[in-house]
C-alpha cells in the first residue's frame, strides 16, 4: 500500500512531488553544532511582541472594503430565493452577491474547495455560504447581511453519525449516508491470536468532535491589479491557496499571488483556501476595490474544519508475559456533509505502534448534516490513541504488569503497517524508559499506594504514541544569498505558523555560514517572491525545509569559498568561514573579511540553491513519544487537577531546544483540552444546529486548566538516515497520547475508567457515584 500520509498532505494524482536532485556537495551529518540545538529565542520575537507583525486581519489598504458572509442557519435546507435588494440599496454597501447573482457562477469547480457552486443551492450543513456583501465597514457589512431575505425549504436532517446509518435516517446525499465502502486492513490470523491470548479485553470508546479554532480568525485581504490578484491570507501554505484559488477563478497560477507573513495559528484548518478566499476575490473584483474578509468566531466553529468525532471498539488479546496476540479495531466517524476524511488514519496507531502479528481493522466514514472536517494536528491519531492507550492500561492491570513495562514488551523496530519496512530510528523504548526515570514513575507509584483515603485522590498515567508522517520529504527549494557585505538572506516558501520555522531555518544557515541567526534576513511564504514549498502541516516543515535550507547554505558557502580561494590564492578545501571572515587553515594562516572580497563586490551577491533530497527508500521515518502525568481527583465532585506532565519525545535531532519545548508543552496543552474540556455540541434531537458555537461554550483550556509543572525530555537520537539535518517532526506527536495519559491517571487515582472525551465533572462525577453504588 502507499504511505497513508500522502492522502492528507500531498497533491492529488501525483505520487510524491519531487524537487531536482541535490547538488553533489558534502552534506555529512552534523557532529557537534555551535548554533543548532541551542535554546534560542525567535528571530521574529520582536515583531510578535511589539504589535508590529502584520497579520492578514491587520491589513489596511486604500479604499478597502469589508466583506461578510451570510450563512445557512439550518443543517439541511434548499435555498429557494435570496432577496438582496434591500441590502444592495443601503448606503455604504457596495456589493451583494448570492447564488442567484451572475458573478458567483462564473467559477470553475474545484473538488477540494467547492463541490458545486460557491453559494450552494442545497445547504447540507449549518454555516453553508448563501450570500456575501462588501461594505464600508464591518458593521455596515453585518447590517447588509441582516437586510437579506432568504427563503429556505427546510429539510429533515441527521446530525449524529451514530444514527445516520439507520434505515429511516434522512439522506445527507443521494446514495446513502455511508461515504464509501468500509475500509479494511488485516494481517495475520486474528482468531488464532485471540485463542493464544491469556486475557482478552473489549471496550467501546468515543472521542467528541474537536474544533481547531486558532486564535486568528480565518480570512484574507483580496486586491486586484488588473487581471492579477493578490491575496494576503492567513494560511499554512501559500502555494496550496494559490493553486486552489487560481483553479476556482479559472486564472493561471501566475495571476494569483498569495502572501502570508504572520499568521495566528492553523493546526491543519488553514492548509487550503476557503470558500471565503474565493468570495473575497469575487467581492473585490466586482467592487474594483480591495476587500478584507475575516470570518467571525461563530463561522470558524461551524464551517472551516474540525477533528471528526470517532466511535471506536477495541478487542485486544495479551499473554501473561505481556505479548500482544491480537488487536481488533472497529471505528466510525464523520467528516460532516462532505467527503472530508471522517475516519482518516483512525486506525494507524493500532496497525503500527506495538508489535502484534494479528491485527484487523475496519473503519466506516459517515455523512451527517454538519460542517466539514479538515486535517487537525495528527488526524486520526489522538482518537486511536485514546482507545488503544486506555486499553493497554487495562490490559496491564489485567495481567498484573506495570503499564510502562507492558509497552516496553511490545516495542516495534519495523513499521508493521507498511509491510515491515524498518524505521530509521525507533526512540519509543528510550521515550518510555528515560521518561519513566525522569518522571520518577516507580517512586511516585509507590508513594501513592501508601496514601490515606481522603476524598482527594492522586494518580499517575502513561501513554505512548507515534505519528505516521513527521519525516517530511520533497519537494522543497530554498535559496540563500550572501550580499557583498557578507550579510545573508534566506528565501523559502514555507509559512511559519508559530512553530518557529523561521528561527530554526535561520539557525541552520547560521550553523553553516558561522554567523548569528539574527543576522539572517528571511523572505518567506509568498508565491510571488519565494520558492515553492508545501503547506506547513503534518509535522513535516522542519524535516522538509531544513535539509533544503542546509543544502542552499552549503551551496552558497562553496561558491563563496571558491571566489575567496582565487583571491587568496589558497585551495578552497583549506578555507572555512568564521565571524564574517574567510579563514585559511594549514601552515600559513590567512583571513579575509567577506566584505573585502573584490569578486563578491563585483557580482553583488552569491546565490546558493538547495533542494530537498529524497527520503531513504525502504525506510519509515516517524517520531515517537511517551507522556506521563500525575493528577489529583476530587472524588466527590469529579474535578481533576492535573499536577504535572512530562513529554519524552524522539523527534530526531533537536534544532532549537526552546521552540521544541514550546511545541511539546503546546501539544500537551491541546491534548488536555481534547481530553478534558472540548466538544462540539449539536442539538441532534431538535434543530441539528450547533449549540456551542462560541468560545465560552466550546471550552478551550485556560491557564488554570494546565499544570505549570511541565517537563520536556528530548530523546535526541540524531536520525542520520532520515535527512541531512537529522530532524523529525514534533508538532503532531506532542498532542497524540496526552488525553489517554490523563485518563489513565484518573483511573489510577479512582479506579474509574471514563471512555468518552471530555472527562469533565459532568462525566466523572456520575461514574464515581456509580462506582460507589449510588444512582
Amino acid at each position: 500500500m502507499n504511505d497513508p500520509k500522502e492522502a492528507l498532505y500531498y497533491i492529488d494524482g501525483v505520487d510524491v512531488p519531487e524537487t531536482p536532485p541535490a547538488r553533489d556537495l558534502d552534506q555529512e551529518p552534523w557532529g557537534e553544532t555551535t548554533v543548532v540545538g541551542k535554546p534560542l529565542p525567535r528571530v521574529d520575537g520582536y515583531e510578535r511582541v511589539s504589535g508590529t507583525a502584520v497579520y492578514p486581519a491587520d491589513m489596511s489598504l486604500p479604499r478597502m472594503l469589508y466583506g461578510a458572509i451570510l450563512r445557512c442557519p439550518h443543517p439541511n435546507a434548499v435555498v429557494r430565493s435570496v432577496d438582496t435588494s434591500a441590502a444592495a440599496a443601503m448606503s455604504g454597501v457596495h456589493v451583494v452577491m448570492s447564488g442567484f447573482t451572475p458573478s458567483s457562477r462564473a467559477l470553475q469547480a474545484h473538488r477540494q474547495l467547492i463541490e458545486s457552486n460557491l453559494f450552494n443551492p442545497h445547504c447540507r450543513h449549518e454555516g453553508e455560504t448563501v450570500a456575501a456583501v462588501a461594505a464600508d465597514n464591518p458593521y455596515r457589512a453585518q447590517d447588509a447581511l441582516r437586510a437579506i431575505t432568504v427563503e429556505y425549504d427546510v429539510l429533515p436532517f441527521v446530525a449524529d453519525e451514530r444514527r445516520a446509518l439507520e434505515p429511516d435516517a434522512p439522506q445527507v446525499r443521494e446514495g446513502g449516508n455511508q461515504v464509501s465502502d468500509t475500509q479494511q486492513y488485516q494481517r495475520g490470523d486474528i482468531e488464532q491470536g485471540f485463542v493464544e491470548a491469556d486475557v482478552v479485553l473489549e471496550e467501546d470508546y468515543r472521542c467528541e468532535c474537536e474544533i481547531h479554532t486558532p486564535m486568528e480568525l480565518h480570512g484574507c485581504v483580496a486586491q486586484w491589479d488588473g487581471d492579477s490578484l493578490t491575496l494576503w491570507e492567513s494560511t499554512q501554505g501559500v502555494y496550496n491557496v494559490q493553486a486552489q484559488a487560481a483553479a476556482a477563478l479559472g486564472v493561471p497560477l501566475s495571476k494569483v499571488r498569495v502572501v502570508n507573513r504572520y499568521m495566528g495559528g492553523g493546526f491543519g484548518s488553514k492548509l487550503a483556501a476557503g470558500k471565503y478566499t474565493v468570495i473575497a476575490a469575487l467581492l473585490a473584483k466586482e467592487a474594483a476595490r480591495p476587500v478584507k474578509l475575516v470570518l467571525t468566531r461563530e463561522e470558524t466553529l461551524l464551517a472551516v474544519g474540525n477533528r471528526p468525532p470517532s466511535n471506536m471498539h477495541l478487542k485486544v488479546g495479551v499473554k501473561r508475559d505481556g505479548t500482544l496476540t491480537a488487536i481488533q479495531f472497529t471505528g466510525t466517524g464523520t467528516g460532516g456533509s462532505q467527503q472530508a476524511g471522517g475516519t482518516s488514519l483512525l486506525d494507524w496507531i493500532v496497525r503500527d505502534l506495538y508489535v502484534c502479528p494479528n491485527v484487523r481493522t475496519e473503519t466506516t466514514d459517515i455523512y451527517i448534516n454538519a460542517g466539514p472536517a479538515r486535517p487537525f494536528r495528527a488526524p486520526g491519531h489522538p482518537q486511536c490513541s485514546w482507545a488503544l492507550e486506555q486499553m493497554m492500561d487495562a490490559l496491564a492491570q489485567a495481567i498484573d504488569m506495570d503499564p510502562v513495562e507492558l509497552r516496553l514488551r511490545n516495542i516495534p523496530t519495523v513499521s508493521q503497517g507498511r509491510n515491515n519496512i524498518p524505521y530509521t530510528t525507533t526512540g519509543l523504548r528510550a521515550c518510555l524508559e528515560e521518561g519513566a526515570r525522569s518522571f520518577e514513575w516507580q517512586q511516585t507509584k509507590d508513594a501513592i499506594t501508601t496514601e490515606s483515603d481522603s476524598h482527594i485522590r492522586r494518580g499517575i498515567g502513561v501513554a505512548s504514541g507515534l505519528w505516521v508522517a513527521g519525516g517530511g520529504g520533497p519537494p522543497s527549494t530554498a535559496i540563500v544569498k550572501i550580499y557583498a557585505d557578507g550579510s545573508v538572506n534566506l528565501n523559502m516558501g514555507a509559512s511559519d505558523i508559530g512553530t518557529g520555522t523561521k528561527t530554526v531555518m535561520a539557525m541552520v544557515v547560521a550553523e553553516e555560514l558561522a554567523i548569528a541567526p539574527g543576522d539572517v534576513q528571511i523572505e518567506w511564504a509568498d508565491t510571488g517572491s519565494t520558492q515553492y514549498a508545501t503547506g506547513s502541516g503534518g509535522s513535516k516543515t522542519v524535516p522538509t525545509e531544513s535539509p533544503a535550507v542546509r543544502a542552499a547554505a552549503i551551496d552558497v558557502k562553496a561558491q563563496l569559498l571558491e571566489l575567496a580561494a582565487g583571491e587568496m590564492e589558497v585551495d578552497a578545501s583549506l578555507l572555512s568561514l568564521a565571524d564574517g571572515k574567510v579563514v585559511a587553515g594549514g601552515d600559513s594562516p590567512k583571513e579575509v573579511e567577506i566584505s573585502a572580497l573584490r569578486s563578491l563586490r563585483r557580482r553583488g551577491s552569491v546565490t546558493g540553491i538547495g533542494y530537498r533530497g529524497p527520503n531513504p527508500s525502504g525506510k519509515a521515518v516517524n517520531p515517537f513519544v511517551a507522556q506521563f502525568c500525575e493528577v489529583e481527583v476530587n472524588t466527590r465532585t469529579g474535578e481533576v487537577n492535573i499536577l504535572r506532565f512530562l513529554g519524552a519525545h524522539d523527534s530526531g535531532r533537536v534544532l532549537n531546544l526552546l521552540t521544541y519545548r514550546n511545541q511539546v508543552f503546546g501539544g500537551i496543552t491541546m491534548g488536555i483540552g481534547y481530553g478534558m474540556t472540548e466538544q462540539r455540541v449539536l442539538d441532534v434531537d431538535q434543530t441539528g444546529k450547533m449549540a456551542n458555537k462560541n468560545w465560552h461554550d466550546y471550552k478551550l483550556p485556560t491557564a488554570l486548566d494546565v499544570p505549570a509543572d511541565m517537563t520536556c525530555l528530548p530523546i535526541d537520537l540524531n536520525d542520520t538516515e532520515a535527512n541531512t539535518t537529522g530532524a523529525k517532526g514534533i508538532g503532531e506527536p506532542a498532542t497524540i497520547p496526552t488525553a489517554p495519559a490523563v485518563a489513565n491517571a484518573i483511573y489510577n487515582a479512582t479506579g474509574v475508567r471514563v471512555t468518552g472525551t471530555p472527562i469533565d465533572p459532568t462525566k466523572l462525577v456520575s461514574a464515581l457515584a456509580a462506582a460507589r453504588g449510588e444512582d
Partner: protein
C-alpha cells in the same frame, strides 16, 4: 457586530430613569453582559443608556448598622479585593473572585452581575425560545447538560450569577431607584422564577435601576463561603455551586442560609439543607444527610443527571469544611 442603537450617557439618576422610560432602551453599567446580548441579538435595543458617569453608584461603604452598602457600579474585582468584604463576608469575596475572567471582573459590576441574562445556549443562540417570546423551551428535550434540576417550569435555565447566591446567603437587599422613588427588595424576592414569569429574570421594571446592595451586619459567629465547580478553570459558569452563610455557636449551627448556584433558574435557597443542619453539630453523617436532603426534590433532564451526585458531593464537602473552619 452589534446592530445600531442610539446612545445616551446619563448625567443623573433621574435622567437615566427618564431615558429608560422609552421603549427599547437598555441600561449599560459595565456593559459586558449587555454588549454580548446585543451582539448575539438576544433582544432588541434602540437606545443604550449609560450610567457609568454616575459615580455616586460606585464604591463600598460601611453602613450604620455595621453592615456594608455596595454601590451598583462597584466592579466585581473591587468587590473581590475589598478588605472589609473579605473580612466580614469572605463568601461574597470568594464568589466575586470566581466570576468570569480577570478582565470581566474589572469591567462587570455587582449591579449587572445580579441582573445577568441567562447563559442558556438556546436563549443566547438563534432559537426562538420561550423566554424570548417563542413557544418552546429547547432545553427541555435538547442539549440540557448545563440546565436546571430544581425550580424548572416551562423554562430550564440556571441563574448564571456567582455573587447573587452569596448575597442571598448573607440576606442582602437590593436598593432600586425608579420613577416613584427608591424601593428596597430583599434579594430573596429580587429574582423571578419561570413559574411566575417566564420572560423575566428580576422584579426590575424597565425604567428602574439597581443603585446599591446592602448586606446586614454579620451575625455573631457567622462563617461564610462560596464554592464553585465548573467544567474549566476560568471563564465558566457553575455546574454546581454552594454559598454558605452559617452562624455557629462553638461547633453548633445556630442559623444561616444555604444557597445553591447552577441548580435552578434563580439562586436557590436550600431549606432542606438548612433544616437538616440548624441546631446541629455538623459531622460526616449529618453532612451526607443534608446533601441528600438538598437533592430530594431534584429532577434531572436527559443530560444533567450528574448534577445530583455533584451537588451532593459539593454540599457535603463544603459543610464539613465550614464546620472545621
Amino acid at each position: 457586530m452589534i446592530p445600531e442603537f442610539n446612545y445616551v450617557r446619563a448625567q443623573s439618576l433621574t435622567e437615566a430613569q427618564q431615558q429608560l422610560s422609552t421603549d427599547g432602551a437598555r441600561v449599560c453599567a459595565g456593559g459586558s453582559d449587555l454588549l454580548g446580548c446585543l451582539r448575539d441579538e438576544v433582544f432588541d435595543c434602540s437606545k443604550v443608556v449609560s450610567v457609568t458617569g454616575l459615580d455616586e453608584l460606585r464604591g463600598i461603604t460601611r453602613s450604620r448598622d455595621g453592615g456594608v452598602n455596595i454601590g451598583a457600579l462597584t466592579t466585581i474585582a473591587e468587590l473581590a479585593a475589598n478588605s472589609t468584604v473579605q473580612e466580614l463576608y469572605p463568601g461574597l469575596a470568594q464568589a466575586a473572585a470566581e466570576v468570569a475572567s480577570p478582565q470581566l471582573r474589572n469591567q462587570g459590576t455587582i449591579g449587572g452581575n445580579i441582573c445577568q441574562k441567562p447563559r442558556c445556549w438556546y436563549y443566547r443562540g438563534e432559537f426562538e425560545c420561550l423566554r424570548k417570546g417563542g413557544d418552546t423551551c429547547y432545553a427541555m428535550a435538547g442539549e440540557n447538560q448545563y440546565h436546571c434540576i430544581l425550580g424548572g417550569y416551562r423554562c430550564y435555565i440556571v441563574h448564571p450569577s456567582d455573587t447573587a447566591p452569596a448575597l442571598l446567603a448573607l440576606n442582602a437587599s437590593v436598593q432600586i431607584a425608579g420613577p416613584r422613588g427608591e424601593r428596597v427588595v430583599p434579594i430573596e424576592d429580587f429574582h423571578v422564577a419561570p413559574r411566575d414569569d417566564v420572560q423575566r429574570e428580576t422584579v426590575l421594571e424597565d425604567n428602574e435601576i439597581v443603585v446599591a446592595i446592602s448586606i446586614p451586619q454579620p451575625a455573631s459567629g457567622l462563617r461564610s463561603s462560596y464554592r464553585k465547580v465548573r467544567a474549566r478553570g476560568s471563564w465558566d459558569f457553575a455546574l454546581a455551586g454552594v454559598a454558605l452563610a452559617l452562624a455557629f455557636d462553638a461547633d453548633r449551627v445556630t442559623g444561616g442560609r444555604v444557597v445553591l448556584s447552577g441548580a435552578a433558574p434563580i439562586p436557590w435557597r436550600s431549606r432542606e439543607v438548612e433544616n437538616t443542619i440548624i441546631g446541629q453539630r455538623i459531622d460526616a453523617t449529618l453532612a451526607r444527610e443534608a446533601a441528600d436532603a438538598a437533592m430530594s426534590e431534584a429532577a434531572a433532564l436527559k443530560n444533567n443527571g450528574y448534577k445530583i451526585p455533584l451537588f451532593k458531593g459539593v454540599i457535603e464537602e463544603q459543610l464539613l469544611a465550614i464546620a472545621s473552619a
